[in-house]
Symmetry: C2
Subunit: 521 residues, 2 copies
């Protein structure tokens, strides 16, 4: 073949490839975020009842991440981190009212996600994506903070947790929104029977998800579905056809219904012929809420403590990636990864460059997902509690610079984030500083953080030598965001959300009397 | 078709069927028994490092039993129960020297498996099976108690644990037998480097297993292989090609090598064309030895405590059944099952009636294995510690009639069977009697035995009403065997095992001075 002919041949191939690339719509993205579900709640992660056949099958068809982390042991900061790709300390989802406190967005919170932050759905618009959030938002409930003001085109769900029912003279029940207007409230139009645990909310969220997907397929538009369901958050609920079906009581029933729903969504993607063009990621917002007890709390498997703590049980999450034809089947990835990577990875999947005007904590995991290679083997995991860096993981080692379970006062009143798991000197009830001599654990041979490495050993010295510069570097370059979770006010509660007048659900707000929110742990 | 013709037709079919049945050799049986490996040590049971690809594949190709139990939280009684199908309290593998003590067969033990007991290999001889034990025997090391005196035709391994090295003037190193004669001793001919953890014993045991299987295939003889390897028992060891390869340190290296070996054995069965005629069962003798610390002890996943205790961590075992073409692939069975079922099930697989002159505790699991049905849904699990029935499980409920971790003296000296897991009132350091009001747990929603059910609740009363008659019935009908583990004597140690003279390995025994063995926990 002559050189010219070869060039022409290549040009033709390149042209066709370019055309193919042009014609293929960017992949759809589905992030399934569970609420307070623990690492140990899935069969594939060792739940003894093995009652999650659909999630286990998802793992068998996709990639399992046993070293996946949230950005915070509590819901709001974790969700803000997922959608911004940034640690809460950067995006403002923390409080400086007291040292190392977990803060979130109850309905008396004044703040919410800052306008300075760029959320994933806003970025995805650049490539024509339409985005929907189904379920819990939790990044602020005042009008300017709601999902449709932050890049989402659709929303079905609620701004806060489904706590209640409340005395509505004192505190309104949490509204449920359909897009920009409320369509009812929990315990009013949207029932959760706290006695029986019955609620059909998961079924509603499932149907909303399937409808959204089908509509986008019809109009051939790439979509981002953020399916943020909350049945495993207390008060735990399930619909009548799942209640009493699991070996684990009500919590297990909720898990079974979510598992089933995941199965339905994945098979719907297959049936619609878009499975090979849809990147799906399943994870949870923080560790299981062990303080809720055996009936309302999940399992963190072999890990120490749970939600609210920076031990592994508080921040290690179940995680499965699924993308038939792109992600190899049945692979376990040892990559250290976080919910913030979902921001960066989703952008990479969509072919969009990440914002370059700010520090991002998320990594692009597509090399891991698509080629099975690992990225940044030495990427650290930062465990923050409010404004304090409590611990850092590097490789298989984790160093605790501060330890705290909760205060003696709380502990004595029966609130226990580590039931049955007290490790002397580790699960402390004072905030204990170890910055000069951190407690170091080898998470490979000691995933339960029970055996601190002897400070006199060579191993300890070696680990500290590699960890210290990472921590110093991080602290030196850290620009904390303006803390959004400092001010509370009963006047800002969900008294009269948009649309309330149409359904006669407006309540009268009290006078504004802001105070410094109290975060007890 | 006339009646006569039909009869003839049927007779022909029956004749052919009978002939087929006659011609098919009874299935081979392979029991792979691990040593101190915990429920949580396999990827499929939730080990975070997910480093057991061959066992996970075995589960995917077979049946997983998340509710599988040993008969005792310690090695010797558990192994005696497996081979006799009877609880240690019946077969004599316990001590009455003190209340509720774990006893086993160190080399100063005088007793061993009673001649009154019938062991699985003896039964299997009825159908022409040849049986080999590879690895640890542990049912008594005096000549009359050895494997070849108890139904096995071949043995490669040792009668006791691979503790050592000893000062041979005081205590002989443990011999390694090839059939009826010793061929060396640990730390002498069979090295275990306690500093590096290197030993090629697992490779030797693997090769012995493969050789045995190949030889039986050559002579077309049905076989029973009891592969009782011990690399995960302290001092933990692995061969050089596995050392340093796992994320879990030396213990994980040992697990990886065993996992690899299981994979080699299964693929050898396939390559030899006998996979569909070989029933394989993988399990462990007791829970992981948490008292051995992070470097030498395994994981019991979400369960409480470990080896030596009657909490779930001490007695719930990893368990996988594999029999291509007979056991459906990828099934999870919720059947409550025990190592004693392996006796009865193996007999059923071989087509041999179990002994009818004694109480058997094992059930025939073949309906579960072959048809996926469950047998005796309400079969109880009995948790014994020495001569005491500590706890009983029925369905998802477990009642503790006695609780004990270990004594205060032991605990204060640093021996901890529940590190990082003290549950007040549950992991007690006194032997606490609860026979009048047992501690009851729901193992579905509380697999970690952390939340005793309120004794004033209706649930508690209902459970007790169904449990009490089961316990009464068991106690009423129990005929304890003569306790074999009461007497110790330095004179009976492995000074001069058969064959020692051939290799110059005979040592002189001291004078006999029997004493009442002390069992501290």
């Amino acid at each position: 073949m002559g050189t010219e002919l070869l060039t022409l041949f290549c040009a033709l191939i390149c042209y066709s490839l370019a055309e193919i690339t042009e014609n293929v719509a960017p992949p759809n993205i589905v992030i399934m975020l569970m609420d307070d579900m623990g690492w140990g709640d899935l069969g594939v992660f060792g739940q003894p009842s093995k009652e999650t056949p659909y999630l286990d099958a998802m793992a068998a068809q996709g990639m399992l991440f046993p070293n996946f982390y949230t950005a915070n042991p509590l819901c709001s900061p974790s969700r803000a981190a997922l959608l911004t790709g940034r640690l809460p300390i950067r995006n403002g989802f923390y409080s400086t009212n007291a040292h190392a406190r977990n803060a979130y967005t109850p309905q008396e919170i004044v703040g919410g996600i800052s306008k300075e932050e760029i959320l994933l759905p806003s970025m995805l618009k650049k490539k024509g994506y339409i985005s929907k959030i189904i379920g819990k938002w939790h990044l602020g409930h005042r009008p300017q903070y709601l999902p449709l003001e932050n890049g989402f085109s659709e929303w079905f769900g609620s701004p806060n947790c489904h706590f209640g029912p409340y005395n509505v003279n004192v505190r309104p029940n949490i509204p449920v929104y359909n897009n920009s207007e409320m369509v009812g409230r929990y315990y009013e139009e949207f029932q959760i029977n706290k006695k029986t645990g019955e609620s059909n909310l998961t079924q509603i969220y499932l149907k909303e998800g399937l409808d959204f997907i089908r509509r986008q397929v019809d109009v051939r538009r790439p979509f981002f579905l953020y399916w943020a369901v909350d049945a495993t958050h207390g008060p735990v609920y399930a619909s009548s056809s799942f209640l009493g079906k699991s070996q684990r009581g009500r919590y297990g029933d909720a898990v079974m219904e979510l598992d089933y729903s995941v199965g339905v969504i994945l098979s719907s993607l297959r049936n619609l012929g878009i499975a090979s063009n849809t990147f799906v990621f399943f994870t949870s917002d923080n560790g299981a809420a062990l303080a809720s007890g055996a009936k309302e709390g999940g399992s963190n498997g072999p890990f120490l403590c749970g939600k609210e703590t920076t031990f592994e049980g508080g921040m290690r999450e179940p995680a499965i990636a699924w993308w038939p034809g792109h992600i190899k089947e049945g692979v376990v990835s040892y990559q250290l990864a976080t919910v913030m990577d979902l921001f960066t990875t989703s952008l990479a999947v969509a072919g969009i460059s990440p914002p370059d005007d700010r520090t991002l904590d998320g990594l692009d995991l597509t090399p891991v997902l698509l080629n099975g290679s690992s990225v940044s083997i030495n990427r650290p995991i930062f465990y923050y509690r409010g404004n304090e860096l409590m611990a850092v993981r590097l490789g298989l080692y984790k160093a605790h610079y501060w330890t705290w379970s909760n205060s003696w006062d709380e502990f004595k009143s029966g609130i226990n984030f580590c039931p049955g798991q007290e490790v002397p000197g580790v699960t402390t009830h004072e905030q204990e500083e170890h910055t000069l001599q951190p407690l170091i654990f080898h998470l490979g041979r000691d995933p339960g953080e029970k055996y601190p490495i002897n400070v006199l050993s060579q191993e300890y010295k070696d680990v500290l030598r590699s960890l210290s510069p990472v921590v110093e570097e991080h602290k030196k370059n850290l620009l904390p965001g303006i803390p959004q979770l400092n001010v509370c006010d009963f006047a800002v509660m969900n008294w009269a959300p948009a649309g309330c007048e149409k359904i006669g659900k407006c309540l009268k707000a009290p006078e504004s009397k802001p105070w410094k929110c109290e975060w007890p742990h």
